[in-house]
Amino acid sequence: MTLVTLLLLAAALIGIGLYGALSQQSFVMLMMGLELMLNGVMLAAVAFWALSGAGAPEGQLLTIVVMAVMAIEMAMGFALVVAVFRTNQADMTEALSGLKH
């Protein structure tokens, strides 16, 4: 377990997440891609904190902030899914072609 291997793992998670966020048609699957990217970001932040940052407490705080971002993303994402489903009966990104229902 070195900084390089940890960062490679984080890069792999971010890459898979980016693939998912760009390719999935269903809103919830798309959000899963975003979550995976944030997962990689958190892992990279903790790896830097532990191996390259001499345990500076701000490193852990950054991870907490990313966790808050993740919670916000999930909550807003689900609320938007509900709102879109109410107006358009859509659960796929393709079904949204305009801003007004």
């Binding site: 377990m1 900084l3 390089v4 960062l7 490679l8 793992l9 890069a11 792999a12 998670l13 890459g15 898979i16 980016l18 693939y19 760009l22 390719s23 999935q24 048609q25 269903s26 809103f27 919830v28 699957m29 899963m32 891609g33 979550e35 995976l36 997962n39 958190m42 892992l43 903790v46 904190w49 532990a50 191996l51 390259s52 001499a54 345990g55 407490p57 701000e58 852990q60 705080l61 991870t63 907490i64 902030v65 966790m67 919670a71 999930m74 807003m76 689900f78 609320a79 938007l80 899914v81 509900v82 709102a83 489903f85 109410r86 107006t87 358009n88 009966q89 659960d91 393709e94 229902h101």
Partner: protein, 204 residues
């Protein structure tokens, strides 16, 4: 910093688990299973965080992700047409571009990891990670921490506004049609049009 062999082996297994389950998220037929694969990936990363001595963050990850993935599985069952994976599912668009973008992101970030010269400054010997995090959150960085809390509260308000059934100017579903039971069919479950019955809205 040198870790004992056991930690290295555990990290290797967890890394493989995290990547494989992350990949399975997007190629399993069942969307509920996809959310559980995502949970496995998050838990593997949480354990790696604990191996790195970020105990609090690792455990917080377990709690948060366990709940979050349950909610996600619930949403899958509510909204998706194929939550149980009874039919093969491959719902993707711009597939090649996405694969290319994912691989490019991995190559670029991995190249940075391999080529950049990061300083080697391991954790100091007597550090208590949880204590230092707590003192940072309620000390120097309190403003940041509290701002995150206020942003979360704002999100809660916004989410309720977005998702609430009844808006200020009438029902949220006003003007929209429920989906048909078959593609292009009659809208299902529409309430019967009310005739009379004292439901007229008057402006006072």
């Amino acid at each position: 910093m040198d870790y004992p062999l056991g930690v290295d082996i555990a990290f290797l297994l967890l890394a493989v688990l995290a990547v494989v389950s992350a990949w399975r998220v997007f190629c399993t037929d069942s969307m509920v299973r996809a959310s559980f694969f995502l949970l496995v990936s998050f838990i593997a990363v949480g354990v790696i965080m604990m191996l790195l001595a970020a105990v609090y963050l690792g455990v917080a990850m377990f709690f948060m992700m366990a709940v979050e993935m349950m909610v996600m599985a619930l949403f899958m069952v509510m909204f998706m047409m194929n939550p149980a994976g009874l039919n093969p599912m491959m719902m993707v668009h711009q597939h090649r571009l996405s694969i290319g973008a994912g691989v490019a992101a991995f190559v670029v970030l991995g190249g940075v990891a391999l080529l950049a010269d990061f300083p080697v400054r391991p954790l100091p010997a007597g550090l208590e990670p949880v204590r230092s995090l707590g003192e940072e959150m309620l000390g120097d960085s309190m403003l940041i921490f509290e701002s995150a809390g206020v942003v979360l509260l704002t999100t809660m308000v916004g989410v309720v506004v977005l998702a609430s059934h009844r808006g200020r100017y009438g029902g949220a579903a006003e003007g929209s049609m429920p989906p048909g039971l078959e593609p292009g069919g009659e809208p299902a479950g529409m309430p019967e049009a009310e005739e009379g019955g004292g439901h007229h809205h008057h402006c006072h």
